[in-house]
């Protein structure tokens, strides 16, 4: 027998400091885990805690826990803890890491959690190359819920939901998550390890440490899949279950490094620092300098304004811009305005229309159902809205001839080939601005200065500003000539 008292012993391996000394968040039995005897989770927990200790990142670590037998990570790990919904841990971890780039963010998930319900989240977290470390516990079953099949359940393996064993038809094949993720370009490190014997245990400990180290170095996405025993659900003793990992599971899920770009990957640059707070309004374009100067002073005082306009045409004819210009000019003139577009597939496949109201009273409804002016840029648009125009109102129509069956004796019509007119002015696409000019002339509400100001706010290219100004002026003179005829 050796004589201890004669020797100087030091602790080689003991309880990790990244574990709580006692598990006070547990309701009972606070000195031990809730895991069954021989559970792989306990083994991996210890590996993880040891790696956190060794890399001295306990304060920086945020552990995102799963739903499954691993749900109580926060009972054990004395680190920042967040428990996620079933399958979503890697999505949660992605946002945590982006929020706190200095933190070491771990996502700990089982095979039901990660490979089934969370398949989309893990795939996209990996594909985005999130700088997180994911520990994936694969024990080929749903353990917490009592042993149902998982995507990783082996062919022939029985479970409560595959009582006769899993068959490729109709159940499909065990899902190889590591191999799947290794087809992606972004991950820097992917390894599958096992807990099947001493050699595997040592490799697993090394892999988990590397997964963390990669993040400490700022490299990117690391993923460690651990083939782990579940003696309880597998109905084996702990040692049999351990051997089953090595002798059976490993045949379906070969161990090894599937991706290692850690040598050639450069650490990610630190995120750019945020701008000073007083610069934010300017960046958003809502600072004092960004606001319209306004030409309200040129408005005729005391004049009542209540303009309700509907503008309609095909997508691409500038219907929405016409309306926006009108509203912008109204705002510049110190009036209340609203602009309401039709939206959605209409924008992409055909007709488009918008409602504009300009008033010197607060605008109640921005919905214009009985327009005072209808601007119809084509015949279908005319036919859609012509009956809605209120008596005494105007229709400005883009066409050689106003359709006979649309004629009403209680409204005014200005029908001209505006597209051709715009083409003659230099570009057919300015037809909307010629019609705007006509509308401004007819309504007689908005000062010229406000229209110019609106044009300059909305149109960036000088060539178009010049052309549009010409178009608006020309449209105005056409409408003026028509009203003189009347």
């Amino acid at each position: 027998m050796s004589n201890d008292s004669a020797l100087n012993y030091t602790v080689a391996q003991g309880r990790a400091t990244s574990f709580f000394p006692t598990f006070e968040r547990k309701d009972e039995l606070q000195h031990a885990t809730h895991f069954c005897p021989g559970c792989g989770h306990g083994v991996v927990h210890k590996m993880l805690a040891r790696a956190i200790d060794e890399l001295a990142v306990q304060d920086r670590t945020i552990l995102v826990g799963p739903v499954g037998c691993g749900v109580f990570t926060y009972h054990y790990f004395d680190v920042g803890n967040i428990s996620a919904a079933h399958g979503r841990a890697s999505a949660v971890a992605s946002a945590v890491k982006r929020s706190r780039p200095e933190a070491i963010v771990l996502s700990y998930q089982g095979d039901g959690d990660l490979a089934a319900i969370g398949a989309a989240e893990i795939l996209h977290s990996a594909n985005r190359g999130e700088s997180i470390t994911v520990i994936f516990i694969n024990n080929a079953v749903y353990s917490m819920t009592g042993g149902q099949s998982a995507p990783t359940t082996l062919l022939g393996q029985k479970s409560t939901t595959n009582p006769e064993g899993r068959n490729a038809i109709p159940d499909g094949y065990p899902l190889h998550v590591s191999e799947l993720l290794a087809t992606l370009e972004a991950p820097v490190y992917i390894e599958r390890v096992g807990l099947g014997d001493n050699k595997q245990l040592m490799a697993a400990q090394r892999a988990i440490r590397r997964g963390l180290e990669n993040q400490v170095r700022g490299l990117g996405f690391s993923f460690i899949e651990v083939l782990a025993p579940c003696p309880t659900i597998w109905k084996m003793n702990a040692v049999e279950a351990q051997h089953w990992v090595r002798d059976v599971m490993e045949k379906t899920f070969p161990l090894g490094v599937m991706r290692d770009k850690t040598k050639e990957t450069e650490p990610r640059p630190a995120p750019a620092s945020a701008p000073a707070l007083d610069r934010i309004p300017g960046i958003l374009g809502v600072a004092e300098a960004d606001l319209p100067t306004g030409n309200a002073h040129v408005m005729e005082q005391g004049r009542e304004v209540d303009l309700e306009v509907r503008i309609a045409g095909f997508g691409g004819q500038g219907v929405l811009l016409l309306g926006e210009m009108l509203a912008e000019a109204g705002l510049d003139a110190g009036l209340e305005v609203s602009w309401l577009p039709s939206y959605g597939p209409e924008m992409r496949s055909g007709t488009s229309n918008c409602h504009v109201r300009i008033s010197n009273a607060v605008i109640d409804s921005p919905v214009v159902t009985s327009p005072g002016v209808l601007v119809a840029m084509n015949e279908p648009s005319l036919r859609k809205f012509d009956r809605a125009v209120r008596p005494g109102g105007w229709i400005i129509y883009n066409g050689e001839e106003f359709p006979a069956d649309c004629v009403r004796d209680d409204i005014h019509v200005l029908a001209l080939p505006f597209t051709q007119i715009a083409n003659d002015l230099g570009d057919a696409r300015a037809a909307n601005m010629v019609m705007l000019g006509a509308l401004l002339q007819i309504s007689g509400v908005l000062p010229r200065e406000s229209v110019s100001a609106a044009l300059r706010r909305l149109i960036k290219h000088q060539r178009w500003v010049d052309l549009d100004e010409k178009a608006i002026a020309h449209g105005g003179s056409l409408a003026a000539a028509r009203s003189q005829e009347e």
Partner: protein, 90 residues
């Protein structure tokens, strides 16, 4: 005991309160110096115990054990400079 017996390079302590008697440490131990006792702890589990000699301090029992603090591994100062002890594959 004879004079040819060397001092052990390590020893382990098993906390019978934490041990769940799974036997993974017994399976893992290369020199086979851990055994299962008959005593039941407060959970009703039999617990593993160190046979008392022959430990190399390799720590593989600690790695195999699922409980955070059930096993503590000690090494003598002579061997403590070795980071990883050799471990046999079973």
């Amino acid at each position: 005991m004879t004079d040819t017996v060397k001092h052990d390079r390590g020893k382990i302590e098993i906390d019978a309160n934490e041990c769940k008697g799974c036997g993974l440490c017994i399976e893992a131990c290369p020199p086979k110096v851990i055994a299962m006792g008959d005593h039941l702890n407060h959970y009703g589990y039999k617990t593993a115990f160190y046979a008392g000699s022959g430990c190399t301090g390799c720590s593989i029992c600690f790695t195999a054990c699922p409980e955070p603090g059930a096993i503590t591994v000690y090494r003598t100062a002579v061997t403590s400079s070795r980071v990883e002890a050799p471990c046999a594959s079973n």
